[in-house]
């Protein structure tokens, strides 16, 4: 049995498969209280490794999943983004998260735009959302910048989440 993860590229990022070397920088992200506030809270190194393994195994089980984002300029792990759909999720979504040094430069928008194209053109999805905590204003701003619109709110993971529906295939620039 073989599972393969493709590599994609944008102007400033490489969307690539996870490697063991991502564990250390990913653990730094997962220990940052502000970054983790709306995505499950801070985690120690061992739980960060397991979260990374979930992203990797997601590809095996679903055939798609979150990529590691590599900053072309520095070669560093900038964050993650991809199609995320674990059991019990409101809908298949585009998820994202950035490491602290990479915030505020439009990198999430760049990555998520590429993921959206992949979801429509390669996976053949007709629609996709992003599920965002209603208190998570920075991520909502990204969703809006991507052209997504609030579809509904759902009680989820002990909080209230907005289901932001992305622009449909064909409308995407």
């Amino acid at each position: 049995m073989t599972s393969a993860i493709p590599t994609l590229e944008t102007e400033r990022l490489i969307l690539r498969p996870w490697t063991p070397a991502d564990a250390a920088p990913f653990a730094i992200m997962c220990a940052d209280a502000e970054l983790m506030r709306y995505v499950g809270g801070v985690m120690d190194q061992t739980n960060a490794w397991r979260r990374m393994a979930v992203y990797v195994g997601h590809w095996t089980l679903r055939g798609y999943g979150p990529w590691a984002l590599q900053d072309k300029a520095s070669g560093q792990l900038a964050g993650y983004s991809g199609v995320y759909d674990p059991d019990g999720w409101p809908e298949r979504e585009i998820n994202w998260g950035l490491a602290r040094p990479f915030l505020g430069r439009g990198l999430v928008t760049e990555a998520a735009t590429r993921v959206r194209t992949y979801a429509y053109e390669t996976l053949g999805f007709k629609t996709i959302v992003s599920c965002i905590d209603m208190d998570n204003k920075p991520s909502q701003a990204v969703a809006v910048r991507l052209g997504a619109k609030l579809d509904r709110t759902v009680p989820f993971l002990g909080s209230q989440f907005g289901v932001f529906r992305h622009l449909p295939p064909g409308v995407v620039p």
Binding site: I5, T7, W18, W49, R50, A53, G57, D87
Partner: protein, 176 residues
């Protein structure tokens, strides 16, 4: 593209293979069962899916991982067994877990015997252990049946476990 190929192993009664999404109902039953406290359960279906994804993702991150156990007769998901070495573990272990319907038939012993040979012959592990809670009587019996020996205790994610060390590759060779 990067890819990992997961081998399929075979014993008299069992197929040992990579994880598939269709294993989820079986795994959710296994890890949702009240008796799964010694293998990280019981978990809700949502948490079970993520745990199963962790087991699958382990293969890519480590180059080895656990196998799904399928019974040849009937083809049902019987459980899982094999290497487990997440970050923070004191050493590489062989773990296992079975659904209720597959217990009491020697399936764990048969499966672990096969993966133990696999990790020695193919992965060149010099030694292998299994971490077992002292209250986990069924797994202690499996360890004894596999000729593993008690080799101290250790703490795994806040719980005290016994270290059961398997016969080494050379000890196994003389037993064959």
């Amino acid at each position: 593209m990067t890819s990992i190929t997961i081998p399929t192993l075979e014993t008299e009664r069992l197929i040992l293979r990579g994880w598939r999404n269709s294993d989820f109902d079986g795994y959710a039953e296994l890890i949702g069962d009240a008796s799964s406290t010694f293998i990280g359960g019981p978990l809700s279906r949502e948490d079970a899916w993520r745990k199963m994804a962790t087991l699958a993702g382990h293969w890519t991150l480590r180059g080895f991982g656990s196998f799904v156990i399928e019974e040849k007769s009937g083809g049902a998901f019987a459980g899982y067994c094999g290497p487990w070495f997440p970050l923070g573990f004191p050493e590489q272990e062989l773990g296992w877990g079975l659904v209720a319907a597959s217990r009491g038939k020697g399936i764990a012993t048969e499966a672990v015997t096969c993966v133990r040979r696999h990790v020695y012959d193919q992965l060149k592990w010099p030694t292998a252990v299994s971490f077992i809670a002292p209250q986990n009587t069924p797994s202690l019996r499996v360890a004894e049946r596999l000729k593993a020996r008690l080799d101290g205790t250790t703490e795994i994610r806040g719980k005290m476990c016994q270290i059961w060390r398997h016969p080494s590759p050379s000890e196994l060779a003389t037993q064959r």
